[in-house]
């Protein structure tokens, strides 16, 4: 998504190397996706759900509800 919009930064983090992040984001299982420290998705997501979550993280919620 970072390639499609210059406002988006995508960071893939090897969680096992950073226990402080595991604690901060309460990571119990992976993959865990955290968007703008506001929206969280657990597990692999359909593309549309992921995109909705990204858009929701800055705007009004859409009908799609990100899983927790």
């Amino acid at each position: 998504m970072a390639l499609e919009n210059t406002h988006v930064t995508s960071v893939i983090v090897e969680a096992s190397e950073y226990p402080d992040l595991v604690q901060r984001y309460a990571i119990e299982a992976v993959p865990k996706i955290v968007i703008n420290d506001r929206v969280e998705l657990l597990g692999a997501q359909p593309e549309a759900t992921f995109v909705d979550a990204v858009v929701d993280s800055v705007g009004e919620p859409t009908t799609a509800t990100p899983g927790r």
Binding site: L3, E4, H7, T9, E17, K32, E47
Partner: protein, 141 residues
């Protein structure tokens, strides 16, 4: 060598899809980073498979301005740059397992400019008009 012969061949084949040059700006530090050296070794093996990929190593402590510019505050960190354009794609930690495959996919996508997303998704993403930071937490598989 960290990659087996078969893996090396597969990686070479995948990177064969590259079109434009990609530079991996790699942040490391000398102390307190057990995975910095193995990460550099993996990047060196990737770079050896194509002439369109290069590594630009920086030091997190000594290159503070560059680290700030890329928004990097922990190591090892890989920033994918297509030509002179920062793609804002980052990899933090040793790129093994899923992260390794994702790195190769990101390099190829940055090189071709093709994200692989559907037209609908691309249109939807145009609605984003303020900063979004997506963090995907993974572990080696």
């Amino acid at each position: 060598m960290l990659l087996s012969d078969n893996d090396r061949k597969r990686v070479k084949q995948m990177l064969g899809a590259m079109v434009n040059p990609v530079r991996l700006v790699f942040f490391a530090q000398s102390l307190s980073c057990d995975t910095c050296l193995p990460t550099r070794q993996i990047l060196d093996e990737l770079v050896a498979q194509t002439d369109k990929l290069s590594v630009d190593e920086r030091n997190l402590v000594l290159d503070k301005d560059a680290a700030a510019s890329f928004g990097v505050d922990r190591v090892p960190a890989i920033c994918v740059v297509a030509g002179e354009q920062d793609t804002r794609i980052r990899f933090v930690g040793l790129p093994s397992g899923y992260e390794f495959s994702a790195l190769i996919d990101a390099v190829v996508a940055a090189s071709t400019g093709q994200s692989g997303l559907s037209e609908a998704s691309r249109g939807r993403l145009q609605e984003v008009a303020s900063p979004v930071r997506i963090q995907v937490f993974v572990t080696p598989t």
